[in-house]
């Protein structure tokens, strides 16, 4: 499957999910998403950064400069409380949709 055409909501949910356990920098997030989706989605910088900045402005993420595993300066993103709530509600929403889609597609 090609790597793009992510719905915006899907990308948000993936990013929130990727950050659920720990703070991460940009490249870490895109690796984590690739890993989580078994390489189905590979998020490019052109989609990743606008999404990160948008979510930061929405108050779901906070960003801070830190040091990467190979001693490079990098910007780390972390979920806020609002981000966690968002993750929960979007997950629930997604599950509903996925269930509905699955049963719709199985109908014939």
């Amino acid at each position: 499957m090609p790597t793009t055409n992510l719905l915006q909501g899907t990308l948000d949910l993936l990013i929130l999910n990727a950050l659920a356990l720990t703070a991460m920098h940009g490249i870490g997030i895109s690796h984590r998403i690739a890993q989580m989706t078994h390489d189905t989605f590979r998020v490019k910088p052109g989609s990743l950064f606008p999404a990160l900045h948008r979510m930061e402005e929405a108050g779901w993420l906070t960003a801070a400069w830190g040091e990467s595993e190979n001693n490079r300066r990098a910007k780390f993103y972390r979920l806020t409380a609002a981000g966690r709530r968002q993750l929960k509600s979007e997950t629930r929403q997604w599950e509903t949709i996925a269930l509905a889609m699955a049963s719709a597609l199985q109908a014939n």
Binding site: G26, K44, P45, A58, G59
Partner: protein, 881 residues
Amino acid sequence: MPWISRLASLYRNLRGGKRVERDLDDELRAYLDQLTDEKRAAGLEAQEARRAARIEFGGVEQVKEEVRQVRSGHIVEELLQDLRYGMRMLRRNPAFTAVALLALALGIGANTAMFSVAYGVLFRPLPYAGADRVAVVCMRYFPRDFAFGTLCMRDYLTWKENNRAFEDPSLFTSLNMDVAGGPAVPEQVQGASVTAGFFATLGVRPLLGRTFSLGEDKPTAAALAVLSESIWRRRFAASSAVLGQTILVNGVPATVIGVMPGVFQFPWKPDIWTNLLLKPPTRYGPWFYRGVARLKPGISFAQAQSELDHIGLRMMQQNSFYKRLTLPVVSLRDVLLGVTLKPAILLLAGAVGLVLLIAVVNVANLMLARATVREREMALRLSLGAGRGRLIRQLLTESVLLAALGGALGLALAWGAVYMVRTWNPGNLPLADSIRLDLGALGFTVVVAMLTGILFGLAPALESARADLNATIKEGGRTGAGSQARGRARAALVVSEIAVSLMLLVGAGLLLRSFANLQWVTGGFSTPPSRILTMLISPGNRKFSDARRGLAFYDEALRQARNVPGVETASVTDSLPPDQQGDADTFGIEGQVLAPGELNPIVSDATVGPDFFRALGIPLIEGRYFTDHDGMDSVPVVIVSEGFARRFFPNQEAIGKRIRQSGPELGNKWMEIVGVVGNVKYLGLTVDTDPAYYLPFAQAYGPRMFLAVRASGDAARLAAPLRRKIQAIDPGITLAQIGTMEQHRTLSVSQPRFDTELLSLFAGIALLMATVGIYGLIAYSVAQRTHEIGVRMALGAGRADVMRMVVRQGLSLAAIGIVLGMSGALALTRLLKAMLFGIGVTDALTFACAALGMTLVVTLATLVPALRATRISPVAALRYE
């Protein structure tokens, strides 16, 4: 709270724009570095790794732009960008900017100012509580058909007895009053005598003390006075000790009981209100009074009017000399405004609306012209990937920017104009105090200007950009899509500009000619007005109400006046042309048989000293002037005006006939007509000749008289010495209304002058804008036709041919505009009818001059580009292709 975080980032983005940008740079670079690290870890050379990372990353700038797009406030940022770009565009086209801004500023400024004035004068609530429920009631009857009419005491009592519609009606009259007492010198002021309920009727409270209470208008009540704030400050140093103080009003002691606030100026800005004592009248007249009353709750003006119609019928039945009697209920505001002002202001407001229309058309025209020029820019930007929304936003920003700048200039202009009208009041407008800059009008005009800019700037630009990008870019915008239709639209706009400004020109022309007529019309006297000085003298002291003592006083005053160097003739009078009628009365003619209740008309009856006619230069037609021998005890004599003689003694000798003052019930002495003099206007310059009769001062003494002197030179210089000499006769004397006849005349025509000047100004602005419009159109068309003209000249067309061609284009547009404008003017000048004097609303000369002037101006505006066209070098024009 997501909106808090948004607000915070908005603040961060807008304030720390640079830091945010640097942060983004760093973040992206870090990502790239990490990616490079990974590539190297995978075994690539440093150079190779960097390249691979860059390829995988994609365009750094695009990513940045996309991040910027999601930031809060990026719209604001783009707006700032558009504003900067818009400013740059405006600066780069100074001619366009100047013309557009000028049109907008004049249109917006003139409209805002005019509507502020109109609203302030015509609509702003009066500073009286519930003023819209207060009406002035007067009586009009033949032949006393004055604008608002008057009442006599008896009429008032009849009204009061039969009144159901109003709360207790009040009566008032306006008169000159001498004020004396206290340390200040005596002075003459405008005063009013009013019944007890007057202040309550008008819904005003005193600033200090009290107003008249119930019963203080009974015949036995003590004399009381209420002061205006102005005289209280001026004469009594704003001291509250003034309450209870006794002052002399017309020589009678009166107790000050209150002070009215400055906003209360009814009727006609009095400085003193005294209590009118309602003595039971013994006869009809004098008709000095007016009624004022407040409608009872739930009663409408129409209901009150129908009740008064019945009362009027009853009055006519009771008194047979009231003919065609009506009792119009007039609103307080209409009384304050007078009859001529409202139509004049509405007309000017209409005219200024036309100016706005022209301004807007001019802006539209400019926008259309610019849209054509910018076709290429828009097409280019669209093809380079600019979003349509982004372009719309930018054009919108430019239009709004232009309108806002024009609005700011207009606001400054309007503020100045309103300030001027309030401060100097050149039109002598009533209620000028309530004129304030009207921001609603400003907002409205700015929005109109903005919408015009948007409509005519945005639509064509976008339409053309959509039409055919390739064609537009290739053709260099010279004959781009839609430009032909746009040319037609511009021509139509210019035609309408010419038509509308022609209408204004005709209107202004009519007013100008009417005003010139007003200047030329004489009051019926031949001495130049600048050589006549007049002042109103009141001897003050009550002893001078005795005729013998009064006459002696005036003899002395005249003797003193004649001794002042530069005085040629001095006399006294109670009436002055052009609009100071002293008294008016009916009269009887010896031997004339009148039906019962029939009366001769009421005409001006002036009381004058012997030299009055000589001082003013009123010609003697027959008989003689008064002399010093026409004294108190001599045979009663009278002089009549030519109009009087012709009307009442047609085909007869008037000299030697006898007439007497007033109606038969008074039994006045018969007076012999000894002279006939030329007609003089006492009721205003525009009122037709007025029959009048003159009584000799010694036989009809009154204490308050005008001194009128004829000077050998400029009369204004005599004011100071004359004032000194006369004041020195008695300390109680008060002098008022000192000035030359020319000064009085200027004041009396100040309103028509104001109307005329304003309309001329509006017409001038309109003409200027129309000129700019047609100049722009022709200049643009010449620029577009450079190639064609070049070809024509190469093929042998002479300069004159080229010039004729260009001028013909302008004039054919002008011809259409002029025909349309003439028809419009013919339809609209009827509205001017009431404002014109001595000229018809379809005055052919005015129409012809306006059309000719317009043609001339259009020709001149066309000549400049036409001359430029003749200088086109065929070689150069062709080489451009």
